[in-house]
Symmetry: D2
Subunit: 282 residues, 4 copies
């Protein structure tokens, strides 16, 4: 990989048949591409591919020619600059740990993303968000104002040219219109190892059941609460001495990392929807 060549990230999702890997790899070679990484998965009759490669061919020309290839293969394709930051709009309520972690990751340049704005139904975190130089929008939600609030959130997302919406412990259920408008682009962090303990107060449910580990799940948001395809999960050990509050305290550490890992996978084009399941390349 010579330094003057730009880096490209290519993701494809297409109907499987013999010879496809050769065909796509040849296309990359024929466009001057030098492959740094290649990932491959076959499931349910579909082939999922992800490549990082360097090439002197301009990205726009690659995109144009890729459209032709994709048409022939009936493939869904994404070609992106691996250094271009995704625009991640964060929604939060009062608990700040997931939001603060995302702010720290943006500040540290942990992976390529920016937070163009933060939206909250509370004023709690305005000061810190603004200290990061990020606009903060207070959008209160009540039973009466919910449709208007949701429309406002969609508008703010559009104004911010958001790529992804992250519910970083946002304690309101999004309405169906928002779920549909941004299908495949909204991630939630749920503080349980789904499918166990969906809905409210999962740590209380976990304590009553007496589980020995508590979990966190990053999943796509769909109209059905806490039931969208799972992107990332993790657990942490608890014991009998941990009441629901102690479980919540221990669990926050994995909520933070599970959300961040799921988000990173999504913005780095590692995630593919495969029915109710996801393919997530490491």
């Amino acid at each position: 990989m010579t330094t003057e060549n730009a880096r490209h990230r290519l993701a494809l999702d297409l109907p499987d048949r013999p010879g496809l890997l050769a065909e796509v790899a040849a296309w990359i070679r024929d466009h001057g591409g030098d492959i740094a990484s290649a990932q491959h998965h076959v499931e349910g009759g579909r082939l999922y591919l992800r490549f990082c490669f360097a090439s002197a061919t301009p990205r726009e020309r690659l995109r144009a020619e890729l459209a032709t290839l994709a048409g022939g293969l009936r493939a869904q394709v994404r070609l992106n600059d691996p250094d271009a930051p995704a625009r991640v709009v964060a929604l939060v309520s009062k608990e700040g740990h997931c939001l603060y972690d995302l702010l720290a990751r943006q500040a540290d340049g942990d992976f390529p993303f920016v937070i163009p704005c933060v939206i909250s139904n509370h004023e709690t975190h305005r000061r810190v968000v603004e200290a990061h130089g990020i606009p903060f929008h207070h959008v209160p939600v009540t039973a009466d104002t919910k449709p208007a609030a949701m429309a406002r959130i969609r508008a703010l997302f559009a104004e911010a040219r958001g790529d992804v919406m992250v519910l970083a412990r946002y304690m309101q259920v999004l309405d169906a219109a928002t779920c549909e408008a941004l299908a495949g682009r909204i991630l939630n962090i749920h503080h349980a190892f789904l499918p166990s303990f969906p809905g409210a107060k999962p740590y209380h449910q976990a304590h009553a059941k007496g589980v020995k580990l508590v979990g966190a799940t990053c999943h796509f948001v769909t109209a059905e609460l806490d039931a969208g395809p799972i992107v990332e999960q993790d657990v942490i050990r608890v014991d009998h001495a941990d009441g629901p509050e102690a479980m919540a305290r221990r669990g926050r550490d994995i909520e933070v990392t599970v959300l961040a890992r799921g988000l990173r996978s999504l913005v780095e084009d590692r995630v593919f929807l495969a029915g109710q399941r996801t393919v997530v390349f490491r």
Copy 2:
């Protein structure tokens, strides 16, 4: 701790009130006891205590005097020799990994237990079990013979003077009579992170749901399938490339360790039932 003193393990479960720890610790001191470890938990108005101590007082005299103390405190007490092996009757079907692990632990002296006999509805593992010098009983189970088979299992357990029964991947549901007769003494290993995926084919359920970790749960057996109090759990990471068979293969490693840890906790008097939950001292 002088070497001539015997070691004792004391477990108590009693209604909590101020001053109990002082009272029990004083009782140990007044019987010449030197405490090596003490564990303490309060939950739901009850106090759970576990002590290991050395004392020159004969165990039988300690037991007699402890009965008096326990009566006054309305306590359930156990006083055991930490070096005396528990008698663990293992039930198994065709999959041998949990059984073979228990055989290896007995051979290695991993923790104080012996397997006085193995019971199976298949002949698969007779040869290896007998090579360990352990009697093997083949008790076939069909819909018609189930009550008789269950009675036979209870009789074998009694003949073997079993303390604990372990279902080491035993693919038959025990009947209510057995569950009741041995309540609090039967452990099962379920190949899922309960309460997710109880019942049949949990790895297939886990694959369909697309979870990113699969689990194993060691729990007490009760009349309700896979719903008894949980003693130990663990999980292992899987990814989209793992079909149900690969999940099963990865999961077997944690089935083995979760069952062994749960069993060790039980036979070392570390486990207390607290309603639907368990207290498990480390």
Copy 3:
């Protein structure tokens, strides 16, 4: 535990002999104490005890009478209010992830501590620190100014009435004077699983060696670099595809949690020094 009773946390470190638990538990009972948790460890001829209890006896009177008890037992004792926040002075350089995590935990009330000030050899994090309402002190360090800078840090710590100093990825080695003055009160986070890979560039060392997990270690700071007693550790899986930068990115998540857990244990009086080892009650 009645609600009008104050909560107290008692930690003792004393020469072991039979009967001590009874004696200390009786002392708590005789001062109206109702024990919520008790922890006990014997090692190297010493007994380590930690109690949380509720009592109507004023804390100052408990402290005075405890001094008498401690004298008789030759015990080191600490009696604290479990709700009183420890004052944790944070030192940081350019990488902000550990600092931001501590700021988030203080904001969320994760465990009882406050950050009275942040000290850094760079200006990088001033704005966010001040947005949290916390004073930020820029203390540059060069080879020439090091003694003066260290003295300034000790002075700032004293002015802030610090209980604990945390090196939250602070890239300067503290001088011997500071290590001695604050012995047992300074925690560092090292980005490796000590004793592997002390010193500079541990992720590069780890990559060259080809380890399959990278670690983080929270330890007491002593005059010998990265060799103080270990308080907490954790690891995360990496693979051949992770270069040193990817290892660093994965490792940051455990640096954050390991430091936070170590700090929480210390400020909650869960940590005891036992020679080169530590006792850390859960």
Copy 4:
């Protein structure tokens, strides 16, 4: 993949240049291959590839034509039947847990391998090994007989047509002749997280240092003790209450799984040597 097609597993290690993936994938396609999985890694100027594919072309013809391809690419190639069991000769001393686990995995068909014989410097495990229908060879080792014993081991390995030798807690250091003769084919399990605590009594070293996790490492055996390239590692949590014996007891569970995972990776052609490091495809 049609059912009449045989499955093949192809591993390549070659000097990297642009276009290689296309070339190899085209070769597979041109030989009727339908790719089920493809793995790819570039490091240090070399490309590592692993494919599972189905093809009606006979394996011997594939092998012959692959030799031509490999010559042109200066590649090291392996083409194997994924269902053909590797022949794994196990060496063991007195502690049986790793051996018993391997016996159980062979019996259960956990992954494709057979144990053609077990070699030990003690008679301890003869009975159980023979109950599995496996020949057991007692080869005592003393300082005087070591060269002869090592030659005997190499001869037994050759007679058994061994592919891989596994030191399943074998407490003798192999001599240089054996290390060289079987370079890249001998795996050891060391009961520590290397590079920490090589050599004797690692759990005692770990206890003295006060680490909070103990580890196990599966590595290739080279002439330098415990310093060969690492294939797999894992850790388990311990605490201050665990003496060296308790650490050893907790550690045995990861010794077992780390060795089994390392062995499985090796026999499934997932492992490539890359200098002092290894590439291990999942």
